[in-house]
């Protein structure tokens, strides 16, 4: 009995020590009005009902394997050029309007979606949040990805791998640094700077991301990802002022980047991390390119994802920033994102204060 009491006392002391340590960490996390965060999870914001029938009444979409079998039945002879290479050509240079006869693509249905109201308007085609509290949500990419197995939880192929690749691949090490923070619960004006980090994410013994790591700012190669905006924190939720950004986007392979107009986040923040939504309008041409660069047809087959069909759906649902021909070239998008607190080390603050490729938006506009 005495032994048990002793054990309990020890446990209590250890617990108190951990609480103290946690409290100390929290104090350290916010220093001189600054706190840093590093991205640990990013998924397309996909609203799902338990059986999926409301948003995907026709079921989930076919992927490359299913489409290949429909177009080129195995009991018939085919050649590489007319079948395999026809499919790969369509991946990279998709017909903007029509799929091959016999193939179909189902967009997500319904009025409910997760995301942010990007334009402050409640217009036809906008969504309502699952709890009904927010209307005017702009997340047309949900219509594109909502019925693609790759992106649906809990076991879509992309969702399965996303944290693994966050750890393996530091190309997409997106960081946020808040400065001029008086209070992490309520602060009318904080400065938010985006960086790319260079280092591995901190894990606990069970492989879960934890706060308290350090990250060096990539001022050598990641200068174009450095961008600053402002935000306000209300009741622990940070909302940023929209800005145009490029951010590094990759999974296992390749090093593409996304170009986002009117990018912003809405995050519940703490000294341990931040979690919530990211939104903005994505450049469709670049997004399509990135999807192919990130994962080849082999990988997308596991997630039953046909990017040529997605490209056509993106064009159908494009809702912003017309090109020179007057056709919308961007699509409203939403992501669910998670960050962990991190201590940001900036080896060259002079570089980090400016973005030499601040003209990325101008460059992108010039393409159109």
């Amino acid at each position: 009995m005495a032994k048990h009491t002793s054990l309990k006392l020890s446990a209590a002391l250890v617990g108190a020590g951990l609480v103290f340590a946690h409290s100390a960490l929290a104090d350290e996390a916010l220093q001189n009005g600054k706190i840093g965060y590093v991205l640990t999870n990013k998924n397309w914001a996909i609203y799902q009902t338990p059986d999926g029938k409301a948003e995907c009444p026709n079921g989930l979409n076919d992927g490359p394997r299913e489409q290949f079998d429909k177009l080129y039945p195995r009991d018939q002879k085919h050649n590489v050029a007319d079948s395999w290479l026809e499919r790969e050509g369509e991946v990279w240079l998709p017909d903007p309007v029509s799929a091959k006869p016999g193939l179909s693509f189902y967009e997500a249905q319904g009025k409910i979606a997760i995301g942010l109201d990007l334009d402050g308007k409640n217009k036809p085609g906008d969504f309502v949040s699952p709890d009904g509290a927010v209307s005017g949500i702009d997340n047309r990419i949900y219509k594109v990805f909502g019925c693609v197995a790759n992106y649906r939880g809990p076991d879509g192929s992309y969702r399965h791998f996303v944290e693994s690749y966050m750890q393996k691949d530091n190309y997409n090490r997106l960081m946020m640094e808040f400065s001029d923070v008086d209070n992490l619960v309520n602060d009318p004006d904080v400065t938010v700077t985006l960086y790319r980090g260079r280092d591995d994410l901190l894990l606990d013994a069970a492989g879960k991301f934890i706060a308290g790591g350090t990250q060096r700012v990539d001022t050598q190669w990641g200068r174009e990802f450095i961008k600053t905006t402002h935000g306000k924190i209300v009741d622990g939720v940070l909302t940023t002022v929209p800005m145009d950004i490029t951010y590094p986007e990759s999974l296992a392979r390749g090093a593409p980047k996304q170009f986002v107009r009117d990018w912003r986040v809405q995050l519940r923040v703490s000294t341990d991390g931040a979690e919530g939504l990211m939104g903005g309008y994505l450049d469709i041409a670049r997004l399509h390119n990135n999807l192919g660069q990130n994962w080849g047809t082999h990988y997308r087959s596991y997630g039953q994802e046909s990017i040529s069909d997605e490209y056509r759906a993106m064009l159908r649902n494009a809702d912003a920033y017309p090109d020179k021909d007057g056709k919308n070239a961007f699509i409203s998008s939403g992501w669910e994102i998670k960050f962990k607190q991190v201590f940001i080390i900036n080896p060259n603050p002079a570089v980090a204060q400016v973005s030499p490729r601040d003209d990325a938006a101008v460059t992108e506009k010039a393409r159109r």
Partner: protein, 461 residues
């Protein structure tokens, strides 16, 4: 160097000075002297059968060659997505029967599809002629004689059957396939040049990159030398050792070839290569890397440098490292292709089927391909000063090499006897929007940027 616009503030100007300094620092490969470029990789001179020789190739380093100077290749087993391809040691399989259909070794496409240009598709031995042993041939050292398909007697090195390539025409060509291929399970099972082991202590290894043969530790950490060291004397002490660690030599080891041993302090020995003490970089993240070379006064070590890039070409910073660019700063791309037949033939050369390339760049339309992936044209006054880079004439409609007078012939730059490309989507220096365009992120059929330093990938392999 990137072009920056909109410089309106003094702070920005100050920052740009710093940025410029960093970028220039990384451009090591343009700072090598002619004497340094002339150094070649030492190798272990093993006993060889009569009629064979070692040739120093520009990028591959020392390779075995036949009496005429043709490079010898091996075809090691490679694990692909749905099975293995290549040859086991002692078991040559490359034969004279042309393959007609795909194997399905690479998902998601099934096997049994008829291969492009099937009626004229060569057999494995037509593309990769076996190195035959005559009746009087006798095994020597690691060189043995194997029984191959059709009853042939074939030379092997270290158990791996040897071949030449029909693409190689003269001494030092190794246009068949390269040690610098994309590699991995996502590309095909490619051949590679065979060569003698490098003359390096067992602690070290050599890895082939586009800018040369990089010296590393056996565990892949990069090796560095310090400009402030004297011949066979280290001046890296104190704070210097916080970033770099001397590569220590075992107590009882002896100097070999270009390798000497210096004594840092009593009983502490350090390796020196070509009289320069060698180190590793403590902050190196992915290995091997070029990160330590960003520290002032430090540089990576190459047992043999690649030839200088053609005059006017430049190394350009990107958001993921450095790529080779033309005189206008446009990123240069290489096309990779390996088919899915049992014999895993290359399809990246103009003499090989063009259906793979044309499908991805133009859905079969060669004119569209000249918009998406135009050839890098060579000006009339440009010339190649190396073997691995050349200027040739190509017919864009056929994708074949042609003679200069051929109607529609384009004068283009070639690397390893294959045309190099630009990307129709790139707009600014440092763009590399077409990197990974193709199957399996372009490892199997597609375009990769000409990476000099791929910080977030595999550093240009």
């Amino acid at each position: 160097m990137r072009q920056y616009r909109g410089v309106v503030r003094l702070s920005l100007a100050v920052a740009l000075v710093a940025v410029t300094a960093m970028a220039v620092q990384g451009k090591e490969s343009h700072q090598w002297t002619k004497q340094q470029r002339a150094l070649t990789q030492e190798y272990v001179a093993e006993e060889m059968p009569p009629g064979f020789q070692v040739v120093i190739a520009e990028v591959e380093g020392p390779v075995f060659a036949d009496a005429s100077g043709k490079t010898l290749y091996i075809w090691p087993v490679t694990a692909l997505r749905n099975g293995n391809a290549g040859e086991l040691k002692g078991r040559p399989t490359c034969d004279a029967t042309p393959t007609k259909v795909t194997t399905g070794l690479q998902s998601p496409y099934p096997g049994g599809l008829e291969l492009p240009e099937v009626s004229t598709r060569p057999s494995c031995v037509q593309v990769w002629p076996p190195v035959l042993a005559d009746a009087s041939a006798k095994p020597v050292g690691k060189w043995t004689i194997l029984d191959g398909p059709g009853g042939r007697k074939q030379w092997a090195y270290d158990g791996q059957a040897l071949y030449t390539s029909v693409l190689d025409k003269k001494r030092g060509d190794n246009w068949g396939q390269s040690n610098n291929n994309p590699g991995g399970d996502s590309s095909g099972a490619s051949r590679e040049p065979a060569g003698p082991p490098p003359n390096i202590p067992p602690q070290f290894a050599v890895k082939s990159y586009k800018n040369g043969r990089l010296l590393t530790l056996a565990d892949t950490k990069s090796i560095y030398v310090y400009d402030k060291d004297a011949p066979n004397k280290s001046n890296c002490t104190g704070a210097c050792l916080e970033k770099f660690t001397p590569v220590l030599a075992p107590e009882n080891v002896l100097p070999q070839g270009a390798w000497s041993i210096i004594e840092r302090s009593s009983g502490v020995k350090q390796w020196a290569y070509r009289k320069q003490p060698v180190y590793t970089y403590n902050l190196e993240d992915k290995t091997p890397s070029f990160e330590g070379g960003d520290e002032p006064g430090w540089r990576n070590v190459f047992t043999q440098l690649a030839p200088a890039f053609p005059k006017g070409f430049q190394i350009t910073d990107t958001n993921a490292g450095q790529v080779l660019a033309d005189a206008k700063g446009r990123t240069i791309y290489l096309y990779n292709c390996n088919d899915d037949a049992t014999d895993q033939l290359d399809c990246s050369h103009p003499s090989q089927p063009q259906a793979y390339r044309l499908a991805l760049c133009g859905k079969g339309d060669w004119k569209r391909c000249q918009e998406t992936f135009p050839y890098l044209l060579a000006a009339n006054d440009e010339k190649s000063e190396s073997q691995i880079w050349s200027i040739k004439y190509i017919n864009a409609a056929s994708g074949r090499w042609v003679e200069p007078g051929d109607p529609g012939a384009l004068r283009v730059w070639a690397y390893r006897d294959r045309p190099v490309y630009l990307c129709g989507r790139d707009r600014n220096p440092g763009d590399f929007d077409c990197d990974g365009w193709g199957e399996f992120s372009a490892g199997r059929n597609g375009w990769k940027a000409f990476w000099i330093r791929d910080v977030y990938g595999r550093n240009g392999i």
